[in-house]
């Protein structure tokens, strides 16, 4: 045991004293925040103002687009948006949209042609991002269409906004045709706001589902990123010990299981130290921001329950131990870091599966997909943790997940220690299956 501690201590001190560790620990939260908020910000802002020409075949929509800048009516439209756009619109800040209105009496498509040319830059004129064509029979024909031309058809936010504006005006017009006046029409068209409320088993009501979504992602990233970083560190350490030839001394001084345990625990401690520091930084920041937020009615307990913290540490350790075994094997059977990376490539893809499935699992934590993945041994720590953050999985499932993880860890540690023992000294040649089997029995 004292040997395990000796190795643990050495590994811990070696990593913690590195400059890269100190820098990463200080900058990590900022990098992570930047990574998360930047894309959202960019999607929402679209980087800059959008300039759209509306070619109106009906000639009756001038009032809608006369304002030029449009910011009204956002709240009503948000629920029409598809998933991606909804997520994007979550961050504050409105989409800057500048419209140019053109009434057309003939074929609106033909009238739009010069603008389409302009959009494609044929005349080298001012920039134009899109052209919306409203069919002439929009008010009378229920199957009439709006056509939006742009160089990229993927700007859902702009499309939905324009569609909402036109549809509202058209609905108003249709109601007016039935003799209902404008004020009354607005009343009729008024949409109701939907407020997501999370109900816990203890009967608490929690709002702020959107922020909960974000928090879930932060925690899952916090769970996975250190696993991968320190898994790599274990792998790199083993490869280095092989190439620096320290291994012979180590392995003649202690059982391979002690060596492996010491390394794994040492780097787990490094990971926990780092996360601890990050959490302290977060808490400190939250403490400063908290006072201001409380005044504006923001309540962190609405989306973050205290129970998440212990769950986080339990599943962090479980996930880490599973991942790190795979990395240790890669290091043990490889002769260079490059070789080990190649070996890990496909395995990382497999281990990242929970991350790729984070979106559907977080939005549907009780779906069959989520339940099944949260009970598959290798994926269980991360997937179950995702479910715990956003919902309350049945207690037996949580217990089963922990039990499955522990079982997986025992089997993997055992096999890893054996493979490790053979792998670390077979410089230059991979162990044969027969050799491996012999070591599995004897070592």
């Amino acid at each position: 045991m004292s040997k395990v501690i000796a190795v643990l201590k050495r590994e811990y001190l070696e990593v913690v004293r590195k400059k890269s560790f100190i820098i990463m620990t200080i900058l990590g939260p900022f990098l992570m925040a930047a990574l998360m908020f930047l894309p959202m910000l960019l999607v929402t802002r679209g980087l800059e103002e959008k300039h759209v020409v509306v070619v109106d075949g009906t000639g009756r929509l001038a009032a809608v687009f006369s304002g030029g800048d449009e910011t009204e009516g956002r709240a009503e439209e948000r629920l029409d948006l598809p998933g991606a756009a909804r997520q994007a619109r979550r961050t504050p800040g409105s989409l800057a949209l500048r419209t140019e209105y053109v009434a057309s009496t003939g074929d609106p498509r033909a009238a739009a042609q010069p603008y389409l040319d302009r959009m494609l830059g044929k005349h080298g004129e001012v920039k134009l991002d899109g052209v919306l064509v409203v069919a002439a029979d929009a008010f009378s024909n229920p199957d009439a269409e709006l056509t939006y031309y742009s160089r990229a058809a993927t700007d859902f936010v702009t499309q939905e906004r324009l569609a909402g504006m036109v549809n509202r005006a058209v609905s108003r017009g249709r109601l007016a045709a039935k003799g209902i006046d404008a004020a009354e029409a607005d009343q009729l068209l008024r949409r109701l706001k939907l407020e997501p409320v999370k109900l816990t088993r203890t009967g608490e009501e929690k709002k702020g589902g959107e922020l909960g979504f974000l928090v879930a992602f932060v925690f899952v990233a916090l769970l996975m990123i250190p696993n991968i970083i320190y898994g790599q560190e274990v792998m790199r350490g083993i490869v280095a010990e092989k190439s620096e030839r320290v291994m012979e001394i180590l392995i003649s001084s202690m059982p391979s299981m002690s060596l492996l345990s010491g390394k794994i625990l040492g780097l787990a401690a490094v990971g926990l130290t780092q996360i601890g520091i990050w959490m302290a930084m977060g808490a400190l920041l939250a403490g400063y921001a908290g006072a201001g937020l409380a005044m504006s009615g923001f309540d962190p307990s609405q989306f973050l329950s205290v129970g998440i913290i212990p769950a986080f540490f339990v599943f962090y350790v479980l996930g880490y131990l599973i991942y790190v075994c795979v990395y240790a094997v890669a290091g043990a059977i490889s002769n260079s870091e490059k070789e080990a990376q190649q070996f890990m490539g496909p395995l990382i893809m497999v281990m990242m599966i929970p991350w790729f499935l984070a979106m559907p699992i977080i939005s549907n934590p009780e779906s069959t997909l989520a339940i099944v993945f949260s009970l598959i041994p290798v994926f269980t720590p991360i997937t179950m943790f995702m479910r715990i953050v956003v919902s309350e999985p049945p207690f037996w499932q949580v217990l089963l997940s922990v039990a499955l993880s522990l079982g997986t860890i025992v089997v993997m540690l055992w096999a890893t220690a054996k493979i490790f023992r053979v792998g670390i000294l077979s410089y230059g040649k991979r162990p044969t299956a027969a050799e491996l089997w012999r070591w599995l029995r004897v070592a």
């Binding site: 620096e244 030839r245 291994m247 012979e248 392995i251 003649s252 004897v442």
Partner: protein, 315 residues
């Protein structure tokens, strides 16, 4: 405690794929001796030492170490300097030594005391807080030798301990090995340098192609090979020495020669003949050198085949 056996290797065989690195090897090491495991490159020395240290398992045969059948039971009582020298390059010398002591089960305060003393002894005291990578290769090797001695082991196993050291350090290390023996410890070292072995060891085990071809006390081994060899040191061109009557076989170096005499040859005549043309610095009639015995035994003719070279698995 002479006559007590600290290490017994019995009919041990180890193969790596098609290569038989160690082949039915048996020998024993008596307590309180410095025993040399001698052999050419690729003879199986390193593989043998690795098996003794439990790094490789023998395919067949058994190894008894300090009375235990399982190396794991006694590993804290054994010190080991591997042939593949290796230390954590980024660690400070003193920290590294303490780590090496800790993984041999030593309590820290005692280890610290001993480490300081050994650093002093090896003239490394001023390097105690230097990083390992800042040290010269010879100094790194000395640090590693300290690592093998730090936990006061009963048996010290050193794979080529003197290679890479300058003459001053060679004398230093040799002196320390003799002190260890004097304090009742046992030393097993491997080397392919017979001259070094001759000055250092009590007993030898000569292995060739994985098996022991000669074993015993150095003096007995030499005596068994006769006392009919003339060792000469001189100034001048000694080429003619090989053609003198009475010389059965000769090995000529620059300014030195080892001449094996025919039965009944007169050493006085030989000396007279040599004196005519050379300035004689040394003339000694004695047993053949270990080097000569070694060459006789393993034959200069058949160099170690590639298979044997690959036997010491690495890279």
């Amino acid at each position: 405690m002479p006559d007590e056996t600290v290490l017994r290797v019995e009919r041990v065989t180890k193969t790596f794929g098609p290569v038989r690195a160690v082949d039915d090897l048996s020998f024993a090491v008596a307590a309180g001796t410095i025993t040399g495991l001698l052999g050419r490159n690729g003879a199986g020395k390193t593989t043998t030492l690795r098996m003794i240290n439990g790094i490789f398992l023998p395919d067949t045969g058994r190894i008894e170490l300090l009375g235990a059948a399982d190396v794991a039971a006694v590993r804290d009582r054994v010190g080991y300097l591997p042939e593949e020298r290796g230390l954590y390059r980024k660690m400070k010398v003193i920290e590294h030594l303490l780590f090496l002591a800790e993984i041999k089960g030593q309590p820290l305060p005692r280890a610290r005391q001993r480490a300081e003393r050994w650093l002093e002894r090896f003239e490394l005291a001023d390097k105690r807080t230097a990083r390992v990578e800042e040290l010269s290769k010879g100094n790194q090797q000395k640090v590693q030798i300290i690592g093998a001695l730090l936990h006061d082991p009963e048996l010290v196993i050193l794979d080529e301990p003197l290679s890479g050291l300058d003459p001053v350090n060679v004398v230093l290390v040799r002196g320390i090995l003799q002190e260890l023996r004097a304090s009742g410890k046992t030393v097993l070292l491997s080397t392919h340098m017979m001259g070094e072995a001759e000055k250092t060891v009590d007993d030898i085990v000569l292995i060739h192609r994985g098996t022991a071809v000669l074993a015993g006390g150095l003096d007995e081994v030499r005596a068994a090979h006769g006392t009919d060899t003339v060792h000469l040191a001189f100034e001048g061109d000694g080429a003619f020495l090989t053609t003198l009557p009475g010389v059965a076989r000769a090995r000529l170096d620059t300014n030195a020669a080892e001449l094996e005499l025919r039965p009944g040859a007169c050493t006085q005549e030989l000396l007279a003949a040599a004196m005519e043309r050379l300035r004689i610095l040394r003339f000694e009639v004695a047993a053949p050198s270990l080097e000569q015995i070694f060459i006789d035994k393993v034959g200069g003719g058949t160099p170690s085949e590639p298979a044997a070279g690959a036997a010491e698995v690495r890279r």
